[in-house]
């Protein structure tokens, strides 16, 4: 079969608008680099540094800058895929905001540049560094006043970037208003992961950590729970600023305006529909993330040494090294292993994975070396 790939629009501030449409074999698409070169050839712009974006099924403009999101883009073509090519401009960083295409269709494009200048700190960064860092999940099962946020650490050793404190929370109970001890976010580290999500704010009350109620737990316990879950942290908060939450449930159009205006969740997907949030919510909507539910985020590394004089002659794994790195991915046998296991090929010391080797992965499964 030959699904058509449609390139309807090549839009740029400095290019003249140019629309091309061509076909591509879906299964023979190859890598991002190949595709990039293909586009340069088709548009006859070899050597020009460009940014690629595509419109996903919700109309969001999303970047294409690596193999993963390229394949994602291809898979979302039905059968047409709109790709937008922009020249990379150093003066003006480019953002891929939510609903950007829809907004532009509504004639709001003229408003955009001024908004951008007002809120330069909220820009996501250059697309080549793009990866998902957070998501709002479980909107369909949580009360409107609460927000469940998943932070993606992608195996970095970067801190989660926030502080928590003890505090007093006011609860409405049948007996009336009651003051109970609670745990709150006290500070966000500048430029840290939590701040960059825009989903967590100072004075937000933390209600759950990975599905476990923090009521009755001490600050140290909550700290330890967060640290222990840090590679796959899902916190349920009651945001101090409830305005965004109400807007979130409002109409589509106002949601788009609201989020663009506040900039608070510029990156958040309309999560109830995004495929990422669906996979996540399967994991965590049963309120106990009990034995093995989040196993896949937590695979230990086992290095087998193959210089053991083996009793059995058929040991074929031997590769001569003392610390041969033959990972045996030790997760539950009955669980289907996620296919994507990325391993840096050469290092055998447990050091930091360089950021270039990190890639966005929805199941969050990593084996770090």
């Amino acid at each position: 079969c030959l699904p058509m790939i449609r390139i309807p629009e090549a839009n740029s501030l400095s290019f003249e608008a140019e629309y091309r449409r061509f076909a591509l074999k879906k299964n023979g698409a190859g890598s991002f680099q190949e595709f990039y070169q293909l586009l340069q050839t088709i548009h006859r712009i070899p050597g020009v540094d460009v940014l690629l974006g595509y419109a996903d099924i919700h109309g969001d403009l999303l970047p294409i800058n690596n193999d993963d999101n390229f394949h994602k883009a291809l898979s979302s073509a039905n059968p047409l895929l709109r790709i937008i090519i922009q020249r990379r401009d150093e003066d003006e960083p480019v953002v891929f905001p939510t609903n950007s295409l829809q907004r532009r269709k509504k004639g709001l494009a003229g408003l955009r540049p001024s908004q951008q200048k007002n809120k330069p700190a909220l820009l996501i960064g250059l697309p080549q560094d793009f990866r998902q860092i957070s998501s709002i999940i479980d909107v369909d099962i949580l009360p409107e006043t609460h927000r469940r946020v998943r932070l993606h650490k992608h195996g970095t050793h970067k801190p989660l970037g926030f502080y928590i404190r003890d505090g007093v929370s006011v609860r409405v109970t049948p007996q009336g208003v009651e003051k109970v001890p609670g745990v709150f976010i006290s500070r966000l580290v500048r430029g840290g992961l939590a701040e960059s999500t825009g989903l967590l704010g100072v004075n937000d009350e933390i209600l759950e950590v990975n599905g476990i109620d923090v009521a009755g737990k001490s600050l140290d316990q909550v700290t330890d729970m967060m640290v222990a879950n840090s590679h796959n942290l899902i916190v349920t908060v009651k945001p101090a600023n409830q305005r965004n939450n109400v807007v979130h449930r409002g109409s589509k159009a106002s949601a788009g305006n609201g989020s663009a205006g506040s900039g608070g969740s510029a990156l958040s997907h309309e999560s109830a529909h995004s495929p990422a949030s669906q996979t996540v919510s399967q994991c965590s909507n049963s309120n106990s993330v009990a034995e093995g539910d989040s196993d896949d985020d937590d695979t230990d590394l086992i290095i087998e040494s193959d210089n053991l004089p083996s009793y059995t002659p058929h040991r074929s794994l031997a590769n001569g090294n003392i610390h041969g790195n033959t990972p045996s991915s030790g997760v539950f046998g009955h669980r289907p292993l996620p296919q994507s296991v990325s391993l840096p090929s050469s290092s055998s010391l447990p050091t930091k994975t360089s950021s270039s080797q990190e890639s966005m992965r929805e199941d969050g499964n990593f084996i770090t070396l």
Binding site: I164, S218, D298, I303, S305, G330
Partner: protein, 986 residues
């Protein structure tokens, strides 16, 4: 599928029943010496001793095994304790000026102390300040129906007992003043009542001593002063001479006076004799004096304090004087109180004291007064566990009789200066059955000693003491410090007691202990990287020790160790007494403190780890097998020895404080400071909220290379069909190394060397410190200890099914299948509960319902002080108990779990008690097993008339129980006597 799993975990009634039969949490006994004792009392009729503490606890001790405890609702200092002789009633006075009456109750073989009522002296209709009604002394009359209460205001009040009814018979100073000659009055008040003493022959007469020095003999019937004694020196205490013809007073100038009592002279101006034993230079006060007559002639005078202020003012001394004999007992901690045990039969003419019991701040010392030379009597309980700071402890259950007997005989040969007189305090009957198995508790101390304790029963008994200091050349020779006690001939000092918390070389401190109970091989490791292998030997020996050095840094370059040096071993042969004798010394380089050890006596292997790496040593061939560095390249802190500066500061402080000791800070002041601090902390917590940064562990945390645990196991590491010796090591950064060992067979040990090959390396994703590693056999049971199988003491492990390894980190437990090391089950404790694992142990729980049913469980103590039990290998949570307060960090750190019982053949007893240090001097024992609980079972026969009117007058004059003297008050309600203040100013 998930739903099914959750339901099963919930309420299965059958499983709940089994759990009830297996697990039960009980706090059972407390071992060791009570922390901060503050009062002492003795009942000569029941032969019971009571000790009160600053935390408000009362502990009663009788014969070994007889003990009971009571705790005041208020956590105030117990300043005085008094027995009602023979009645099993105890009167206590607290810091907050309240009186409490306690009764010993007998309940199903156990004795309990229960508070009956309490009383507070009412103020005098708003005129006097509260200090005027502050109780200074108490005197329960021997007839037990009347209590005389002396106050700071100088009044003496009377209460009816046991109802605490205030009688309208109070004696006030103006009444007394009428009998005093004009020239003595000089317009000043008489001061607080310092002492109340009942006349030994006439129960109606009491002696009242006032602080200013006036002593009055008061007749309760006629309400009239019989005699007044115009003492001019500030009074500290009074004691009657048995005949009642004279009494003795002790004074703040360090002297004592003997006063005659005769009905003919109502006003005595001068004493018969007045002596300042340590004069002529200014002396400190004699806090308490006892005067005991003996049949052999001269009376025995015992008093505390009175030392020359300038030269020995900082010593804690008690003097025994008889004729020309004079001994100054020199203690290492403050004297709280003392009493003598003597004849109380009124018909006998003499006191004839048997023994002197001295309660010190840190220990109890008993002196045999019948034997010439006054030797000490070893105490069967209240052992000063903390005589040197405890640095680690190790428990062995089910000790083979052979080893037990050899340790005991080695210990008996160590005690020279002790008599074997029977323990003089022998009230009550111990009903506990003799323990079915012997248990040893080994404590490692800061001074390099290892003490062996009999932990089988209720009282912890010292068995044997091993010192490792003598194989090293240290700056200070340890024996010297003891013998140099008598610097001069006068005063005739004698060092008594074993509490000596000042270690001269902190490098000697013991960090880890491991004992093979079948072969009698002991492994001891210390602060300076020393690892010592000792053999139990019944003969004395004089030999050189083999020394080996293991470089744990290997080829790591660029690191410099800035911590302490290694301990230089002695180059000549060293004499060793029978007992555990060092054979091999392995020194780790750099000489960081050893953090983990293990011993496999069957393979002749020891393994040890420090913050830099771990090593494997063949002590039979005296050859190192393996050394591996676990340092992370970024870990510079480990190299510099982060504690080095602190340590040296500590050492210098230690030396400068060595002589000053604690004498200057009064106990009261310290408590006040503590309280103030606590209050401050509370306020702080309310005002500024605490912040915690959420920061996951990273690989380059400092000290990531610390080796936390080591274990030997015979299991499948190479492949699934051939098992063999393995060694496992876990580090602080969540790394586990598994080595396959090639151990030659028994007969070839001498020829063939052991070889080790790295088999697996496991990096735990969450990088939490690995707390424990254990290998489980095919049935999921822990592997038996070395020799247990070869000597038919345990069932052989299942080698058919596939083995698994249980790795417990600070955050989670995981079971991996062997040999593939694939995860099988896990439990993420921290992620779920927010608590961290501190201690774990595999324990065999046997059921109360059925003799034959037992289960293995993983017991885990968390940083919050609670205990969780998990099933193995499924790692399902079973029960959870609160055990230790989470603020009690040292308690949590010191917890020791006892191991399993013998194995599946011996179902009779599985001890599930564990120990933890509740204060620096005590061990508390708790039990998790529903089956076996070690607790005091004893019987105290009390003769307690419930109606006070039925009381028959008691005949025995026990004038000397410490109830009666004033110095108790001084000791505890504020040591700031006038003298002490001067001391500060000088």
């Amino acid at each position: 599928m998930m739903k099914f799993r959750f339901r099963r975990q919930g309420h299965d009634p059958q499983r709940e029943k089994i759990k009830q039969d297996l697990f039960a949490f009980n706090k059972t006994v407390e071992h060791g010496f009570p922390n901060q004792p503050s009062a002492l009392a003795y009942d000569p009729k029941l032969q019971l001793m009571a000790i009160g503490t600053k935390s408000g606890a009362i502990k009663v001790y009788g014969a070994p095994g007889v003990e009971c405890t009571g705790l005041h609702k208020e956590t105030a200092t117990v300043t005085q304790l008094h027995f009602f002789p023979g009645q099993g009633r105890i009167l206590s006075l607290l810091d907050d000026n309240t009186l409490h009456l306690w009764e010993i109750e007998q309940k199903e073989q156990c004795s309990h102390l229960e508070e009956v009522c309490s009383f507070m002296l009412p103020g005098r209709s708003g005129i006097e300040s509260t200090s005027a009604t502050r109780v200074t002394v108490l005197l329960p009359k021997l007839s037990c129906d009347l209590l005389a209460v002396g106050t700071e205001g100088g009044g003496v009040h009377f209460l009816e007992l046991p109802s605490f009814t205030l009688l309208d018979r109070s004696i006030f100073q103006d009444e007394i003043m009428q009998s005093v000659p004009e020239e003595y009055k000089c317009g000043k008040s008489l001061g607080p009542v310092e002492s109340l003493q009942e006349h030994p022959q006439h129960p109606d007469k009491i002696l009242i001593g006032y602080s200013r020095g006036l002593v009055v003999l008061w007749d309760l019937q006629s309400r009239h002063a019989d005699n007044v004694f115009l003492g001019k020196q500030q009074l500290e205490s009074l004691v009657w001479v048995r005949s009642g013809n004279s009494f003795v007073s002790s004074h703040s100038d360090g002297g004592y006076m003997v006063w005659p009592v005769s009905s003919s002279t109502p006003c005595t101006h001068e004493p018969v004799t007045s002596t300042i034993p340590y004069g002529p230079f200014p002396c400190k006060a004699v806090n308490k004096i006892l005067w005991r007559t003996t049949e052999s002639g001269a009376p025995l005078v015992l008093f505390s304090g009175g030392m020359p202020r300038a030269s020995y003012g900082d010593r804690h001394c008690l003097t025994i004087l008889q004729d020309s004999q004079h001994i100054t007992l020199d203690f290492t901690s403050r004297v709280i109180d003392f009493f003598t045990i003597h004849c109380i039969d009124r018909d006998k003419e003499f006191d004839d004291p048997l023994a002197l019991v001295v309660l010190l701040e840190e220990e109890l010392v008993v002196i045999d007064l019948q034997t010439a030379g006054w030797p000490t009597i070893p105490s069967p309980y209240l052992a000063p566990l903390h005589s040197s700071a405890i640095t680690c402890s190790y428990h062995i259950s089910n000790v083979p009789t052979k080893l037990w007997d050899r340790v005991i005989s080695a210990g008996q040969r160590q005690c020279h200066l002790q008599t074997h007189t029977n323990w003089p305090i022998c009230g009550g009957k111990n009903l506990a059955p003799s323990p079915k198995q012997q248990e040893l508790l080994l404590t490692g101390h800061e001074d390099g000693t290892v003490r062996f304790w009999d932990a089988s029963g209720v009282s912890l008994r010292p068995l044997y003491k091993l010192s490792t200091a003598n194989i090293f050349q240290t700056d200070c020779d340890h024996n010297d410090s003891l013998t140099q006690a008598g610097e001069e001939d006068w005063p005739p000092f004698r060092k008594v007691g074993c509490f000596d918390p000042y270690s001269d070389d902190p490098r000697l401190g013991i960090q880890k202990i491991c004992l093979c109970k079948y072969s009698g091989k002991l492994l001891v490791a210390g602060t300076a990287g020393q690892v010592i292998v000792l053999y139990l030997c019944d003969e004395k020996s004089d030999h050189m020790i083999d020394v080996a050095t293991v470089d744990l840094l290997q080829d790591r370059e660029g690191f410099t160790w800035k911590g302490h040096d290694r301990l230089p071993p002695k180059s000549s042969s060293v004499p060793f007494a029978p007992g555990f004798q060092p054979v091999v010394l392995v020194q780790c380089m750099p000489p960081a403190a050893v953090t983990a050890v293990t011993l496999h006596a069957e393979w002749n292997l020891i393994a040890f780890g420090t913050s830099h790496g771990f090593g494997l040593f063949d002590y039979h061939r005296r050859s190192p097998v393996l050394a591996r560095c676990t340092l992370h390249p970024n870990d510079s802190l480990a190299m510099e020895g982060p504690l080095s500066r602190v340590k040296s500061l500590k050492k210098s402080l230690r030396q400068s404080f060595r002589r000053i000791r604690k004498s200057r800070v009064s106990g009261k002041k310290r408590v006040m400071v503590q309280e103030a601090n606590a209050q401050l902390a509370e306020q702080d917590a309310e005002v500024t909220p605490v912040q915690r940064r959420i920061e996951p562990r990273s690989a380059d945390d400092s000290l990531s290379g610390v080796v936390r645990c080591l274990c030997f196991a015979d299991t499948f590491l190479r492949d699934g069909t051939h098992h063999g010796p393995t060694m496992w090591a876990g580090t602080n950064s969540g790394c586990v190394y598994a080595y396959a060992l090639d151990v030659p067979s028994q007969d070839k040990f001498s020829e063939q060397s052991v070889e080790a090959l790295l088999g697996k390396e496991i990096q735990l994703m969450h990088r939490a410190p690995v707390v424990s590693i254990a290998v489980l056999d095919g049935r999921g049971n822990p592997l038996p200890e070395p020799y247990e199988v070869s000597r038919d003491l345990a069932k052989a492990p299942d080698m058919q099914g596939s083995h698994s390894v249980l790795i417990a980190s600070e955050e989670q437990f995981k079971v991996f299948m062997l040999p593939r090391v694939s995860a099988k089950t896990k439990f993420k404790l921290t992620a779920h509960e927010g608590c961290r694992v501190r201690k774990v142990a595999l324990v065999n729980f046997s059921s109360v319902a059925s003799e034959d049913y037992s289960e293995n469980g993983l017991v885990c103590l968390t940083n919050l002080g609670d205990i969780h039990v998990f099933s193995i290998p499924a790692l399902r949570p079973q029960v959870r108990y609160d055990c230790i307060r989470k603020e009690d960090i040292s308690g949590i750190a010191s917890c020791v779990f006892t191991k399993t019982g013998q194995g599946e053949y011996f179902k009779k007893i599985f001890l599930k008690s564990r120990f933890y240090l509740i204060s620096p001097s005590e061990y508390e024992r708790f039990s998790l097993s529903a089956r076996v609980i070690t607790k005091p079972l004893c019987q105290l026969d009390v003769d307690r008339p419930h109606d006070p009117s039925e009381l028959s007058p008691l005949s025995s004059p026990a004038l000397d129980s410490p109830n009666s003297s004033a110095d108790i008050t001084l000791d505890t309600t504020g040591e700031l006597t006038v003298e002490d203040v001067k001391d500060f100013l000088v």
